[in-house]
């Protein structure tokens, strides 16, 4: 079992229902004190039944083996920054909104429908999906299309593992990911900024590339809600918005999917959206980036690398004009 349960077999409270940070940290201290009193088991059980505790429980740990070959040696971004500076429009358009609003997302029960041009369509609940392949930790660079970047230790396995299970047929040229769109859980759904649900997509060979990570955790624990719990995809050589969050459906299709940002602003957000310092966004240069947590206002920017530094994907695009297919 990878998701920890308490001895009675009852799920611990949703790990990422994070209340304001002070409360959260204060409670951690409180828990630590209780732990110190040796009455750990019974006290925790009592606390687990309390609403207040349910709001701020530390996230469930996820055991994973570090995949060094696929990990950068750069300094990782703090958990605090990575969980409080998010673009997740289902929870609001400010980057501080998701951390504040995402606690309403219910990540259990959760099923993912995998269908379309496949021989063996599947509907998997999140626990089965999590156990489908051994979990790896990979420290990836994340480059946002807005010009900032982070370094995040994700936990998951290559999406290819799942794709092989469902056996796509010859018509499967693309993979389409659909994010949950439930107004009751997601206050931003209903805003006119995007069409809902959020849809993203990859070409089949991109989806099969071992770097493409089906992700269930980060920083050694299950994904916080604001980071796309309970399951998302991470495509490290593309701008962050390509990596769909809180996925409810993975569909294999013949034609290029109508993806969310590409639909509302096709001249600004291409279907491919590979990180590319030579192709500017119409509103800003993509030649450099601000690494979050690196030196504040006065820090010089970093040079943005082609494919975000993941040169091993270059062969996927050989012969393609990446200025045209941006």
């Amino acid at each position: 079992m990878l998701i920890k349960r308490n001895p009675n077999g009852i799920d611990l409270p949703f790990p990422s229902e994070i209340t304001p940070r002070e409360v959260y940290e204060g409670r951690r201290k409180f828990i630590a004190q209780i732990a110190a009193t040796a009455a750990v088991g019974s006290s925790l059980w009592e606390l687990a039944n309390r609403e207040a505790f349910a709001q701020g429980a530390p996230a469930a740990k996820l055991a994973a083996t570090r995949n060094a070959a696929f990990s950068t040696t750069e300094k990782q971004t703090s958990f605090e920054d990575a969980t409080h500076y998010n673009n997740y429009y289902e929870f609001g358009t400010d980057k501080s909104d998701p951390a504040q609003n995402a606690h309403t997302l219910r990540t259990r029960p959760w099923t993912v429908q995998i269908d379309g041009e496949v021989k063996k369509p599947l509907t998997l609940d999140i626990d089965h999906l999590t156990r489908l392949a051994p979990l790896e930790e990979r420290l990836y660079r994340l480059r946002c299309v807005e010009g900032w970047s982070m370094v995040i230790p994700w936990v998951g396995y290559s999406l290819a593992n799942l794709i092989r299970q469902v056996e796509p047929n010859g018509n499967a040229k693309y993979v389409e990911f659909t994010t949950l769109a439930d107004k009751r859980q997601m206050p931003g759904v209903g805003s006119r900024v995007l069409e809902w649900p959020y849809v993203e997509g990859l070409r089949m060979d991109e989806a099969m590339h071992p770097l493409t990570l089906l992700t269930v955790g980060m920083y050694g624990q299950v994904l916080p809600n604001q980071n796309g719990a309970p399951v998302r995809v991470i495509v490290p050589w593309k701008y962050g918005f390509k990596s769909a969050k809180s996925i409810v459906r993975i569909r294999f299709v013949r034609d290029q999917p109508r993806t969310a940002w590409n639909t509302v602003a096709p001249e600004e957000y291409g279907f491919y959206s590979n990180v590319n310092p030579n192709v500017d966004h119409p509103r800003w240069s993509q030649a450099s980036e601000r690494r979050i947590g690196e030196g504040g206002f006065f820090a010089p920017k970093r040079k943005t690398l082609m494919f975000n530094g993941y040169d091993q994907v270059a062969s996927l695009y050989s012969g393609m004009d990446l200025k045209k297919f941006f």
């Binding site: 920054d81 500076y85 358009t93 980057k95 602003a265 509103r283 601000r290 206002f297």
Partner: protein
């Protein structure tokens, strides 16, 4: 609208307004209030509270330049609706604060985005329409700030009022800059709100001048 309102500045009823002492105190209060957002931006940035300080400072200074621009443009309508003619005494300060926040906004762009590389900045200005219009709006603020002293007002006379009507061009440019910037994220809520505010403030002027042209009462124009 009465015939009275077609005159400029029209006064509903005579208002004695604050004493010079009270006015000085009021000015001091407005001075401090208008500086607070900047103090907050600096304070939080120095303490490294914002996750992305460059974005935080850029957006904060830009937002406040727009808010103060609207406040400056609101003085004349407020005077006319309330008869509080003394409000005019606060307008220069609000206008200069608009320039101050605009300058900080520009300097953040020049500093954080371009490390004071004027060549790179210029390329950005001519390449990206939303920066082009923002830059024009800022440049147009320069002569207004430079001619804000009593001596300049005296020296320029009638031409001072004409020059300062540039604000009627600057305000829509600022909205366009904001609109095009937000267009990148398809998020028009704020630009719509502030676009409507500016449209209303400028629309009143259009309405008044239209009324004045039609009115047989000779107007005593003293500028806006």
């Amino acid at each position: 609208m009465t015939a009275n309102a077609t005159q400029r500045p029209a006064i509903k009823k005579p208002s004695l307004g604050p004493t010079p002492k009270q006015l000085a105190a009021l000015k001091a209060v407005v001075f401090v209030l208008a500086l607070l957002p900047f103090a907050r931006i600096v304070w939080l940035t120095v303490r490294q509270v914002p996750v992305d300080p460059v974005e935080f400072v850029t957006h904060g200074t830009g937002d406040w330049a727009l808010y103060l621009l609207c406040a400056t443009l609101a003085i004349t309508p407020l005077r006319r609706f309330t008869g509080w003619n003394w409000l005019i005494r606060l307008r220069r300060m609000l206008g200069l604060y608009t320039f101050f926040y605009g300058l900080m906004h520009f300097l953040t762009f020049l500093w954080a985005d371009h490390r004071f590389d004027f060549g790179a900045m210029w390329k950005d200005v001519i390449k990206r329409p939303f920066i082009t219009v923002g830059f024009i709006a800022f440049v147009l603020l320069l002569p207004l700030a430079a001619t804000s002293t009593n001596a300049m007002i005296k020296r320029l006379g009638r031409r001072w009022a004409q020059l300062h009507r540039l604000i009627y061009l600057i305000a829509p440019l600022a909205i366009l800059h904001y609109w095009w910037m937000k267009a990148g994220k398809h998020n028009f809520e704020q630009p719509i709100v502030w676009g409507l505010v500016v449209a209303m403030l400028l629309g009143l002027r259009v309405y008044w001048s239209w009324n004045r042209m039609r009115s047989p009462v000779p107007s005593r124009s003293v500028g806006s």
